[in-house]
Amino acid sequence: MGATKNMIRGTIYTSVYVVTTIIIPFLLFNWVRNLQIPLVGEITLTQENYENIIFWILAFGLIISGCAFFSYSSPKQSIRRAVFALIQVIVNCLYLWSYKFSGATEILFNFTISGYTGFLSLNLQTMVLVYMGVYFLTIILKIYDLIDFSINRKKIRENRMKA
């Protein structure tokens, strides 16, 4: 029964990560790629590396989702869970970093409004770096978990048996 529950939990979390790391960014980039505001003009995303960005989002998104399944389907406070959670956070960092190195953090929109032409550029590199800092703290937490689960393995098993 516990195994089934773990599998269901793993599947739910995988779905959540597929939506947040693949589907939402993919739809967002497709939406802004050819944005047209009625009565104002045409706004075009000028990002030559668009295909590259989508590739890395998809690649890392799939790895994160896979790790999420193994992490959340593992028993609570198990070493297996700690290992997969640590891998998942590290891949999450690479996923965020992929936004930076693929050029997704420097978005350039060309526009034509009322006869005027120009561009609007948005740089999100600092924001990505702040998130990287938060992920670094999460890595510390996951390493702490791994050490804790390894040291207290016997006690955790006894508690699991009692439950």
């Binding site: 409004i113 032409t117 948005l122 740089n123 924001m127 938060v134 999460t138 702490y144």
Partner: protein, 194 residues
């Protein structure tokens, strides 16, 4: 609960609060960008017809001896955070008929970039409107044609046509977002020999 788990819980809550703070700031920053840049709102008010020029040549040599340029503009910070590090960069170009440019006796209409300047206007606090005046003088002039090289009897007038590339740069969301807004080849005025 084991003491190690209590410590972990506290650390986890701290990370959660940190993540939520950054996320809220990012979302509000993105929302603010939409509010400020809304084309119907006129939050960025640049009226190119208000641009003023003062061009003066040496009567004997025809060299440019004085040039002053000013462009008033305003920015209304309708967002949730202060606009910081507001920078404006303007490049000016001139189109005129150059006497004997390629072949003696033949006048060619050419376009050159002659002015480049960047100014920092600091911070516009949230909810406030900043009124600024971008200025430039002869020290910002890269190269200007000699008056003797300009055809002052160009038909149809004007003799000199001024164009601008205009870029506004700013940081937002406590420095998390950087925005730049550019418009190019805007006709901002002309000048004919009186």
């Amino acid at each position: 609960m084991r003491p190690s788990r209590v410590f972990r819980l506290i650390f986890r809550i701290f990370i959660l609060l940190l993540t939520l703070s950054v996320t809220v700031v990012s979302i509000l920053g993105g929302l603010s960008a939409f509010i400020i840049l809304d084309p119907y709102s006129n939050n960025i008010g640049v009226d190119y017809t208000d641009a003023s020029f003062d061009v003066d040549f040496n009567n004997s040599t025809g060299e440019l001896i004085a040039f002053n340029f000013s462009l008033p503009f305003n920015i209304t910070n309708a967002g949730y955070f202060d606009i910081e590090d507001l920078q404006v960069a303007i490049k000016l170009g001139i189109r005129y008929e150059h006497i004997d440019y390629t072949v003696p006796g033949q006048n060619d209409t050419i376009f050159i970039k002659f002015f480049e300047n960047q100014q920092n206007f600091g911070t516009v606090t949230k909810g406030n409107k900043g009124l600024f005046d971008f200025t430039g003088d002869i020290s910002n002039v890269i190269s200007f044609p000699n008056a003797t090289q300009i055809n002052w009897y160009r038909t149809p007038p004007p003799d000199l046509e001024f164009f601008a590339n205009f870029t506004i740069g700013l940081t937002y969301s406590l420095g998390l977002h950087s925005l730049a807004f550019n418009m190019h080849n805007i006709s901002i005025g002309d000048y004919s020999y009186p």
